[in-house]
Amino acid sequence: MPYESDQSVAVMNAADGRPGGHAYLFGLGSPHGGDRLGWRAIEWLGEALREHDDLTVARLAQPVDLFLHTVTANDRLLLVDAMRGQGPPGTLKVFAPAELPPAAASLSSLSSHGLDLAGTLALVEALGLFRAGIRIIGIEMPAEAGPDTPDAEMSAPGLNAAQAKRLYAAVLDWLDAG
């Protein structure tokens, strides 16, 4: 499994020439605060899924960065992102693009300030990519997590053992479903 721990796009050519669909597991986030949950989860999942073939795992600072990978119509996409307001901290929810909460699914933020998740998924659909399926796993952030939440309050991957087990199981289910 190509694991892109430093966000480089070194794996982008790894997809070239493969005969069938490829699975992409991307964590959305940033290095700081509650938003880092997606990155920390993906770092942990990358290690846990090291033996899986035909899977690319990477951190993305912005959803639009997924286009740096040579993604195709045959591929599958699983995004892991922090979320708010969907339950107690650590709550996991799996969404299809059409099931995203209104705030995340709104195209109103398609603006000159970047391309958000909804805008990126609209482009993915228009380009005919990831027709083998797209899912988004949301992980509820700690209640007080903000941009300056110290590392100590964000234990890796920000989940307790039971929650981490559920995340791992959800990702395995997705992989097996391919």
């Binding site: 430093d6 966000q7 480089s8 796009v9 070194a10 940033s30 290095p31 700081h32 600072a61 912005q62 639009v64 960065d65 286009f67 740096l68 398609l110 603006s111 000159s112 300030h113 970047g114 391309l115 805008g119 609209a122 482009l123 659909e125 228009a126 380009l127 005919g128």
Partner: protein, 433 residues
């Protein structure tokens, strides 16, 4: 109804694909535009006041939050002003790597504007996803180039949104050689795509709409201007950034929460078209030749050539980033020491949308006593109104409201305005008497 006698008002309530909250109101009387106002009603953000009392590092990290797409520009203008006060001269390595980081911002901002905001206008699509169905290869190319810009910013700033790598005197951290080598491989792969992009953009069905306007930009001794230079115009202005306030005046108008600006009493243009108009001779010969071959002439009076200028600047950004990292070695000391000192200083750099001028007064603890920030969109507001009046009149005021609204939106989007820095939605309302 004859256009000679047409009277009424047009109100545009929603302009998509620009950043911020604004509206366009036009009153037409007897077939002429009687009044035209680009109303900006987004609440004032008061950033200058929020900076008072803050340390120099706080300023650099805070001003990045003014804009999600040009945080590097805000940081670079701020740090230039601060270093001039503290008496810090950045090392050649720092100057070169700051230019590389800034190239990343030009790449991502320009690519996003070309592919997701402006090109749908010229090709007759209502949105980028709609355009992507017919132009998938072009859109994917644009998204890759945008991603390269993000990658550059992340390399130097830790993250591509609101980066955190810049400090007085330099950077907190020098990227290692392996990271730059990987980056360079990706940039090299993008260079030919940037050339293809110029050809594609030059072939778009751009309206012919020549106008008289004053181009204002930075100008550097030998480089295409990005991080430093004198402020020049195509009408003979040539001043140091410190003299900005002697020639440029910001003022409030009743219909806008963002200040308007004039140069010696007249509207002026900043941004990619103005930069290229003033700095054609700073382009590499191969790029000038490509423009000649494509039949696009600069300096240009056609505002819609802004999109071509953006594509050209994307190539400049990629080339510069490659040139400046060619024999890269991480600096042993990525920043110089910056002792606290009181004083007043200015910084002016070329944000993707045009010159961004900062002025700070610091106390003897190097805390902000006073701050002033003049963003490009504020400077372009008066020019946008002037352009709208000319463009819509030439387009034909006899056309129906929808056609006028769409044309007005296209004219405004062409400036890639950021009303949140100084629009996202625009109201358009026409009253015909």
């Amino acid at each position: 109804m004859s256009h000679d006698t047409r009277t009424g008002e047009i109100h545009v309530p929603i302009l998509a694909r620009v950043e911020g909250e604004g509206a366009l109101d036009i009153r037409i009387a007897a077939g002429r535009i009687e009044t035209l106002t680009l109303r900006i009603f987004e609440p004032p953000r008061l950033f200058e006041k929020l900076l008072e009392g803050r340390s120099t590092q706080d300023v650099i990290d805070s001003v990045a939050r003014i804009c999600g797409i040009c945080p590097v520009a805000y940081q670079m203008s701020a740090v230039a002003a601060i270093e001039s006060i503290l008496g810090v001269t950045p090392s050649p390595w720092v100057e070169a790597m700051r230019r590389v980081m800034y190239c990343g911002e030009w790449l991502q901002s320009h690519s996003l504007h070309i592919h997701l905001l402006a090109a749908p206008d010229f090709l007759g699509f209502e949105s980028a996803p709609a355009m992507a169905r017919d132009y998938p290869d072009e859109v994917r190319r644009g998204l890759r180039l945008q991603g390269l810009g993000n990658e550059i910013i992340r390399t130097f700033g830790g993250r591509s949104v609101h980066p955190v790598g810049i400090c007085p005197g330099g950077f907190f951290h020098a990227p290692d050689t392996a990271a730059i080598e990987t980056l360079r491989q990706h940039l090299a792969e993008g260079l030919e795509e940037a050339r293809e992009l110029i050809t594609w953009v030059a072939g778009l069905p751009l309206p012919e709409d020549d106008q008289a306007f004053v181009s204002v930009s930075l100008r550097h001794d030998h480089d295409y201007p990005i991080t430093q230079g004198r402020i020049v115009s195509d009408q003979g202005l040539d001043i140091a950034p410190a003299d900005f306030e002697q020639h440029f005046r910001e003022f409030q108008v009743p219909h806008s929460t963002a200040l308007h600006a004039q140069l010696d009493g007249h509207p002026y243009l900043v941004g990619p078209l103005a930069r290229l108009n003033n700095n054609l001779d700073r382009l590499p010969e191969a790029l000038r030749q490509q423009l000649d071959d494509l039949g696009v002439r600069f300096p240009s009076r056609n505002m819609f050539h802004s999109i071509v200028a953006r594509a050209v600047e994307m190539h400049v950004a990629l080339s510069e980033a490659l040139r400046l990292t060619e024999e890269y070695a991480p600096a042993a000391e990525p920043h110089a020491e910056a002792p606290a000192r009181a004083g007043v200083g200015v910084g002016c750099t070329e944000a993707p949308r045009g010159i961004l001028w900062h002025r700070y007064a610091l106390d003897d603890q190097a805390r902000v006593v006073e701050a002033r920030i003049v963003p490009p969109t504020s400077q372009n507001q008066a020019r946008m109104e002037e352009d709208l009046a000319a463009s819509l009149t030439r387009f034909g005021l006899e056309r129906d409201d929808d056609a006028l609204r769409l044309r007005g939106e296209m004219v405004i989007r062409n400036y890639d305005p950021c009303i949140s820095c100084a629009t996202h939605f625009l109201d358009f309302h026409a009253i015909r008497e």
